[in-house]
């Protein structure tokens, strides 16, 4: 017996000697947001986004204080050079309408993106995790929906259901979902063979817990990139739909609507178009740069040059 015990001890010590001892990681871990901010794009993107967000959220608060007018008050003849940025197609102050017009666009875009992310992530993760026929069916259905251009889908839904806020958010969110689902699925596939998933399954952890606790945290990288990208698209689509008259209804102040209302007078009163165009451009560029830097930040856990 004693020999046996000795040989076992020997084996143990041999294993410890020969085996890899856990060492300090070669790379130093830096928190995600620091990795984002360490990049130039990240900084620029964040600054641009924050500027536009501040404008959109604080603008309505300081409306009469900053401009002396409400967003719907008539102050001059249409398209006359009244005040700082002139008046719009009905003679309302362009600056006050600009201040008031960003909030809904941003709120709708964020809501639509959030909805799309939730739906898409669930579908993608389930498809990858369950696999087999279920995966095949879900992903082919996904392809079918992907074949329809998003804006066309939105136009259709809004024409049928009417131009209401919830329709706008839902339809943009739902049409985002298949695109996000693809990303979520492929990210999940990369993670699903990892040992910690197997370990969790061996512990007979409920499947929803595996998905939520083990899978989801490990695909947040690609998903956050996707979220940033989808947010950019959401802003673009919702502004386009407003421009086409299918978003907010007049007399509400809204950037997309402002562009449409004032475009005929581009040559005599450009501000009614330019201000919202600049804001939308800054916002989309900002969110896009942020998404870009998210992508780089998720590529490694350390700070890149």
């Amino acid at each position: 017996m004693s020999t046996n015990t000795n040989s076992l001890d020997d084996l143990k010590s041999a294993a410890v000697d020969g085996g890899e001892v856990p060492k300090e990681s070669q790379t130093t871990y830096t928190p995600f947001f620091k990795r984002v901010l360490a990049q130039k794009q990240g900084k620029i993107g964040l600054t641009l986004t924050i500027i536009v967000l501040l404008l959109a959220f604080c603008g309505p608060l300081l409306l009469p204080w900053a401009t002396g007018n409400t967003a719907t008050e008539f102050v001059a003849k249409p398209f006359s050079p009244h005040g700082l940025f002139g008046s719009d197609n009905l003679g309302r102050d362009v600056l006050s309408r600009f201040f008031a017009g960003g909030l809904t666009l941003i709120v709708y875009s964020v809501l639509a993106t959030a909805l799309g992310m939730i739906l898409g992530a669930i579908i993608g993760m389930l498809a990858a995790y369950v696999g087999g026929t279920f995966d095949a069916i879900i992903m082919r259905l996904n392809d079918v929906i992907l074949a329809v251009p998003q804006l066309v889908f939105a136009l259709l839904a809004i024409t049928v259901l009417g131009p209401q806020g919830w329709v706008l958010v839902t339809v943009i969110g739902v049409t985002h979902a298949p695109r996000i689902a693809r990303v979520a699925r492929s990210a999940t596939l990369g993670v699903i063979t990892e040992d910690y998933i197997l370990a969790a399954e061996m512990y007979a952890m409920p499947r929803w817990k595996v998905l939520l606790r083990e899978l989801l945290p490990n695909i947040t990288g690609p998903l956050s990139v996707e979220a940033g990208l989808r947010l950019t698209y959401s802003i673009g689509y919702i502004a386009s739909l407003s421009f086409l008259g299918l978003g907010l209804q007049p007399p509400a102040a809204d950037w997309g609507l402002m562009i449409n209302e004032n475009r005929i007078a581009l040559s005599i009163q450009p501000w009614g178009v330019l201000l919202p165009v600049i804001a939308i451009a800054l916002l989309t560029i900002g969110t896009n740069l942020l998404a870009d830097s998210f992508a780089r930040a998720t590529a490694s856990t350390s700070v890149e040059a």
Binding site: E73, F74, K77, F79, Q249, P250, I268
Partner: protein, 515 residues
Amino acid sequence: MNTPNRRQALGAGLSISALAGLSACGGGSVGAADAGKPIKGGSLRVGVTGGNSADTVDAHIPVNSGDVCRAVNLYNALYGWDDDSQVVPLLAESFESNADATVWTCTLKQGIKFSDGSPITPDDVIFTFKRITDPDDPKTAAANFSMLDKVVAKDGRTVEFHLSEANGLFKDAVAEYTAAIVPEGYDPENPVCSGPFKLKSFTPAQSTVLVPNEHYFDYDKMYLDEVQLLNFNDSDALINALLSTQVDAIAQIPVALVEVIAADERMAILNSETGMWLPLTMRVDKKPFDDVKVRQAFRLVVDREQMIEQVLSGFGTVGNDMFGPLSENYPEFPQRKQDIPKAKKLLAEAGYPDGLDVELVTAPIQSGAVESAQVFAQQAAEAGIRVKIRRVDATTFFGEEYLQWDFAQDFWYTRDFLPQVISCALEESPFNETHWDDPAFNKVFDKVRGIPEVEKRRDGEHELQKMLYDEGGYIVWGFANQVDAFQKYVGGLVKNSTGRPLGGWRFDRVWIGKV
């Protein structure tokens, strides 16, 4: 014939503005021409918007602006409207009614001919009215001739219209351009014309070329060799085409842009006061508008001056909830003004002390429509009326629910009071948006309708007008001017109150001056 597309128009517009900029730098001014005395010859190029694949040259079913232009220039009715919207003879020499206005006798002008050289005879007149009132395929003007029993030829130049009921307004009805005379066996595919021009070529949604009709009775008084009507997709392209001299005249420019064009000294603006109105329509049989106090309150919240200023950039005249401002019997009722306290009081009496919520359906049916809805919403808010604007597209607006909306808008060209009533304020009216159907009103109307003399109708018309003014469902806040633009070398375009653009589309009196 190519229709310039938007890019070409824009490109040309850019190069012209570059040129203009250069010459401005040189200190010289771009030559400001004047059309001068009428001269013969030349081709007129006219730009319009709103054309589509359903464009037509049919005399009796014009729909959009281009259709109307073609109809007016290719065909003549027995009577027509002059620049002051008065009825004047065209193909007819005289038009008399019997004492009770049930038989009207028309004498055609001597020696008038169609564009193929054949004479215009009573048989053609009979054919025309048969075609218009064809029960299987009624044309646009059919509603005006519902009481037309039969048309009979008396001799080579005389026709009699027998009516089943008295109609003192029959002459106004035959003066509509939609009642133009066409020859027997008329084929709109290959039209033989009774108007000053005949058709040379026609491509729907693109272009139309008209040449003078040498058999037209006033052929000697015409100047042009040719008229080209060109379609553009939107106002931007249209304006750029004018500024780049791709076209000589354009119809209906957005009023807010008048100063852009006026600033160019090569251009002239034609600003005609008309009787075109863009009312808000309240259904008198639906809550809350079935209560006359609510209708009165709504009429009192409108600041009409501001409407004209904001919606029409000042290019319009104030309305007084009464249509037909150019009618001889237009009443002199006190001008209705914004009166918020009174409106609030009326609303409280009607059971809405805290104001009320209404939905206003609007659509881009005419420039200024959506805008006026917004201005109204803003003005109404002061009286506690919370207006929710629902903007639909024009197709939806004129779709199944058209004339059924509780609170919406509509658009009308210049009409005299009584023809307008026939169109919109009787139970059988084809466009009774407000669902106005008042027995007392109908009784007076039936009496007035049978009187052929305008002066004798005065009291009756005023009685009708008073009822509409006090209780009607229209908010007539103003009348829009017709604003067109043209190169200064184009002569003969005069102000015209009918609401038809460019001098009532009457190109038979237009000339191209020396540039």
